[in-house]
Amino acid sequence: MSTVEQAQFEPARRMTANSWAVVVIFLPPALLLFTIFVALPMAEAGWYSFYNWNGYGRPDRFIGLKNYGYVFGNAVFARALVNNGLVIAVSLLIQLPLALAVALAVAGRVVGAVTFRMIFFLPYVLADVGAGLIWRYMFDGDYGLPATIAGDLGTPSVYLLASKDWAFAAVLVVIVWKYFGFYMMLYVAGLQGIDKSLLEAAEMDGAGPFQRFRHITLPLLGPMIRLSIFFSVVGSLQLFDIVVPLTGGGPFDTTHTMVSFLYYFGITRMRVGFGSAVGVVLFIICVTFAFGYRRAFMRND
């Protein structure tokens, strides 16, 4: 079927002066911009990562793979990797199931479904920086929830974001709060695409709600779930904006992600070679995951 469509829409026209003019005028601006600001920097990250360079003059102190050695030998980077892993775990095990449960609830005929959807999507609309500062306030030991709870109990307050044990857990809470609404919307879109008559037919045949969910809804929602897992992991790997307003990577550099590590240890200190190596590592992780995942799970979607 797709080949028929292709044949129908593929232009069978010969190139004329007019169409060459289109190519020559329409393509270069976008290709140029893309090359300068996306493709070249990516290639240069690979190149710079072999040099010890502070960004001035030309990179000429070639040090081979040493930057990569520094990156993997760095305890803060190791912790950042663990943190990215935690974000992925929480996204997959808590955020997406929550989003699916909520989507099933608001895709039905529950009272106020549209209002609920809007409310759940609201945190996604706030930029990470806004959401991060809101939660910095909510977690504040003098003003936020810990202070209120401690006041009620008559115990001393807790400074979550300054605690090595709790700070990253707090970050994870904010991530679930901020993003589950987006995945809920994806699932709602998927649920709306499911043919209601299938569910009705199953109900006629005596299938209970769990059987209908297990054998009809879930399989039909499969492509959307695989897609949401993909977005969730790739997004988790690139997490940055929300860490800065909440903790800035602290306390004692325990709440960095790979990108915040890249920012605080590479960019602000102008360690171009080292920072580029971090970027390359992140790139390899993302691309390996993207290709592997698509190959394994999304071949037919």
């Binding site: 976008a30 609201l122 920086v129």
Partner: protein, 273 residues
Amino acid sequence: MNGLAAIAIFGALVVVAGIVLVPILATVFGGFKDLGELRVNLLGLPRHWVWSGYWDILASVRYWRVLGNSLLIALLTVALTLALSSMTAFAFAHLKFFGDKFLLNYLMLGLLFPAATAILPLFIKIRDLGLLDSYWGVVLPQVAFSLAMAVLLLRNAFKQLPAELLDAAMMDGCGYFRYFLFITLPLSGPILSTVAVISFVASWNGYLLPLVVLDSESRYPWTLGLMAFQGQYNTSWQLVLAFITLTILPAILMFLMAQRYIVAGLTAGALKG
């Protein structure tokens, strides 16, 4: 579904909605409380409504300047993204020329690259081009990063337009340029607004790129302005809360007014990417 289950589901939704809304409402109302009340009244309505925090911010140049900067950067990004991506998508949708597949795949590499990975070389590139601390230093990379997705969405949409239309237009001697301007673009309103929404939201919420590129506070978009404000007044939560409320307000208003469009745009961007 029986009544009891329906009530349980409704109750669960109310609880989740509460968890979602409480921090936002506490922030909005917090801006009306004085510092002493903030310490003891996190979740309640203000006992004494203090309007001065909000008024001072609304009367400040600083607030309007950060919003103006964000708007300018976002509008330039959207305009350039729409112009460049529609032209590019049009050529790839209708013309077969030497290297077309290669060039399209090259552009689609942009879908793979996490923007943050090359931020250091990008910074050096922007510096060497003399664009550091300028609006263009933020706008041009943002456009470059949104191109791949935009071209993908638009090319698919342009290909869906009936081929007879193009045949008829060519028969009547309408060249590709006029066809693009007077047929393709007017018929592609919905997908163009989807692309506009995606690139506007990405630019409006952008943080890392302006953080790296901009130095002068006079050019800060609201995301940087908010962080700078918080850094300066970090002992006066009531002011920070009012500033947070007022800076996230435009996004919330835009969302409430164009809700359908924004949700459709963002999910379509995700789905078709």
